[in-house]
Amino acid sequence: MLIALLFAGLPAFAQVLPEDRFDLLYHSYDGDDVEITGPSILFRKKATQDISLYANYYIDKISSASIDVRSYASKYSERREEITVGGDILVDETILSAGFVDSDEDDFDAQTAYFGVKQEIFGGLTTINMGYSRGWDDVYEMAGGIAEYQGDVDRHAYRVGLSQIMTKNLIINFDYEARTDEGFLRNPYRKYRYELGGGFDWAKEKYPDTRTSSAFAVGGRYFIEDHKDSVVYGNARYYDDTWGINAFDITAGYTLSIVDQWLLDFSYRYYDQSKADFYSDLFASIDAQNFMSRNKELSTFSNHTIRGSVSYDLNASAYDLFSRGTINFDLSYIYFDYDDFRNVPAGGATGQEPLFDFGAVVGQVYLSFWF
């Protein structure tokens, strides 16, 4: 009702459904003795003039001997499959979106349903969109080849976004997203470390059963008129949650066309966060407090990403089947630097081991076709 009221009385303008396209991507992540590879396939097609449907199939093949595994477990392999189906419907100059995601692993099942609404106002200068998603997860722990049920998670996410044309060369975006999770929120395998008799031992983590977060982002893209197909862009995001984590990240990038059919993109991203209230690398005792985590994603750390990509236009219209096609190569290097997470396998006096850091290489190769 409120969404309908929000758009009532505003001069609405013609919306356009997303283009028909087909994407075939192969991804690879390699860092901290973790290798993840797999394909992602997207197919989007208009069913009628007012309805666009899409489906995405995504796989992660994981082989992991990460710092946690090296500290107290043994190397493992697993596979995750995810299927997304959804659609966009043009109704009275408004685009309504809905979809469903199903994700399966041996020890984790997740379903997410989402709904969104989008409309241009003020002569097409402003685009407002809102979204809501609801998720249901089931968490298991593999023990002797059998998946033992641990608990479920109930997820809600609310989004509001605004895209604003500022000048004939500049567009800016504002995004806000609030999420709440409730249920079994820890990883059943991960352990915290506590002092014991001059040394240390491990015990299963203890987490709160609720988490609420909010994130606000602002971004912009500026078209450089003096150079064909050149854009500078940037994005900044601030985040906090009820676990005590505060984070921000900034991204700056440049897209340029060097010669016909070739498009280059370079970007840099910096991310920084403070630790959760219940995180510690080493607790004083096994029952030092009610919640205890040694999850390095909840520690104090920063990372830097350098990313470059090349896109080549295949002139696919020559093949009749497609109106346009590109082949793309995308490579990133991410360096993670932890302030209070120690490299236990490296050895040393308890609590005095060297701080952990690592670099990861992320590669993508993909074909995109429009028809």
Partner: protein, 75 residues
Amino acid sequence: MSKLINTLLISGLFFTSACSNIEPWVKPYERDNLADEVMKFDRNPVSNAYMNRVYEAREGARGASGGSGAGCGCN
């Protein structure tokens, strides 16, 4: 949480109602550059979705990374 969302929506209602007579200062015929493929926030949706997964799996922060999209909230 629902109070927060309602407050945001009602604030947006007053804001948009007050400004509904604004004339577009960038005319439709001046938007060639804005319509260029390279100006799209989500030019490569599959690639962007993948990078968001990479970050979300390894960082504490989550959300507001979709480039003003109202779509999938996939984890």
